[in-house]
C-alpha cells in the first residue's frame, strides 16, 4: 500500500500540471488593453499651438457636450490617413475635436495643418509626451470620445470607416 501512494500521487500531480498547461495554451498571450472602461478625463495644463498660451483642461471640456480628443503628430503617417475622416466628422456633426500634438516639431505641425486643413477647435502641445500618458495613451494616433468629462470610447491606432460609424452612433 505504501509503495502505491507515491505513484498515485505523482500521476495525479502530473495530470493537474498537464491541465494547467493545456488551459494556459488556449489563453491568448497578446495583451489587449481594456478600452470600454468609463474613466474620468485627467486634469492638466498645456500650451496652445496657435499662440503658445497655457490653458487648463477644465476650461476646455464642458459638461453635456461631446468632445473628440485626437492625439496626432506630423511625423506620424497613419495620422495623415485619418485626417480626412476627422475633417468630414467636424463638418457633418456637432462635435468639438481637440488635437493633442504629440512630441512634434512646431513648424512641421503648423505645416501639416496648413496642408491638410484643421478639423481641430483647439490644438494643444505635448512636447515631452507626458500629457498623452496622463490620458493613458500608448502612442499616436489615438482618439478619445468624451462626454460629461468621461472617456466613453477609446480608439487605439488610426481611425477607419468602422470606428467613424461607431462614433457617429454614439454621439447621435
Amino acid at each position: 500500500m505504501k509503495n502505491k501512494i507515491i505513484p498515485i500521487f505523482l500521476s495525479i500531480f502530473f495530470i493537474i500540471i498537464f491541465f494547467i498547461f493545456y488551459k494556459g495554451l488556449q489563453i491568448p498571450n497578446i495583451y489587449i488593453p481594456k478600452i470600454d472602461v468609463k474613466k474620468s478625463i485627467p486634469i492638466f495644463e498645456a500650451a496652445i499651438l496657435e499662440n503658445d498660451n497655457q490653458i487648463n483642461s477644465e476650461d476646455i471640456f464642458e459638461e453635456n457636450k461631446f468632445y473628440l480628443l485626437n492625439i496626432w503628430a506630423s511625423w506620424c503617417l497613419p495620422c495623415r490617413d485619418e485626417h480626412s475622416l476627422l475633417i468630414n466628422l467636424n463638418n457633418q456633426r456637432d462635435i468639438n475635436i481637440i488635437g493633442l500634438n504629440y512630441k512634434d516639431n512646431y513648424e512641421n505641425a503648423k505645416k501639416f495643418l496648413k496642408e491638410l486643413g484643421s478639423p481641430y477647435k483647439i490644438v494643444l502641445l505635448d512636447k515631452d509626451g507626458t500629457i498623452a500618458i496622463e490620458w493613458g495613451a500608448y502612442g499616436v494616433p489615438e482618439t478619445f470620445l468624451i462626454y460629461n468629462k468621461k472617456i466613453i470610447k477609446k480608439i487605439i491606432g488610426p481611425l477607419d470607416k468602422n470606428s467613424m460609424i461607431e462614433i457617429t452612433e454614439l454621439i447621435k
Partner: protein, 121 residues
C-alpha cells in the same frame, strides 16, 4: 572658524549629491518595475521607445512633486491597468501564482525530510 565654514559648505555639497543619487536610484527602480506596453519583453528602463521615454519623464515629474514609489505605481495602474507593473499584486487572480512555488517548496522539503529520517533509521 574658517575651517568650520568650509566644512558647512562641503556638507551641503555632499548632501545635495547624495539626495540627487537617491532620486536617481528610486527613478531607476521604478522604471525597471514598469513594463513598456508597446515593446516586447522590455521594461520602461530598458526601452528607448517614445512611450517609455514619456513614462520616464513622467516618473521624474511625479518624484519631484513628492509622490512616493507606491503612489506612482497606483497612478500608472489607474491609467493602464495592472499589466504595466512587473510585480503582480496579491489578488484572487494571482494567489495561485504566488502560492504555488511555496507549496512546491514545502512538498519538496517534506519529501527530503522523510527520506532523511528513513535513512537515519
Amino acid at each position: 572658524m574658517n575651517i568650520f565654514k568650509y566644512l558647512i559648505v562641503i556638507f551641503f555639497v555632499f548632501s545635495f549629491y547624495t539626495s540627487n543619487a537617491q532620486d536617481k536610484n528610486t527613478h531607476n527602480k521604478i522604471t525597471k518595475n514598469l513594463r513598456c506596453l508597446i515593446c516586447q519583453g522590455q521594461s520602461v528602463y530598458d526601452s528607448d521607445s517614445e512611450f517609455a521615454n514619456s513614462v520616464k519623464i513622467l516618473v521624474e515629474k511625479k518624484l519631484n512633486e513628492g509622490l512616493n514609489e507606491k503612489q506612482i505605481y497606483d497612478y500608472l495602474k489607474n491609467k493602464y491597468g495592472e499589466w504595466i507593473l512587473y510585480d503582480p499584486e496579491f489578488t484572487k487572480n494571482t494567489y495561485f501564482l504566488w502560492l504555488l512555488p511555496i507549496f512546491f517548496f514545502i512538498i519538496g522539503g517534506a519529501i527530503i525530510f522523510k527520506l532523511f529520517i528513513k535513512r537515519k533509521n
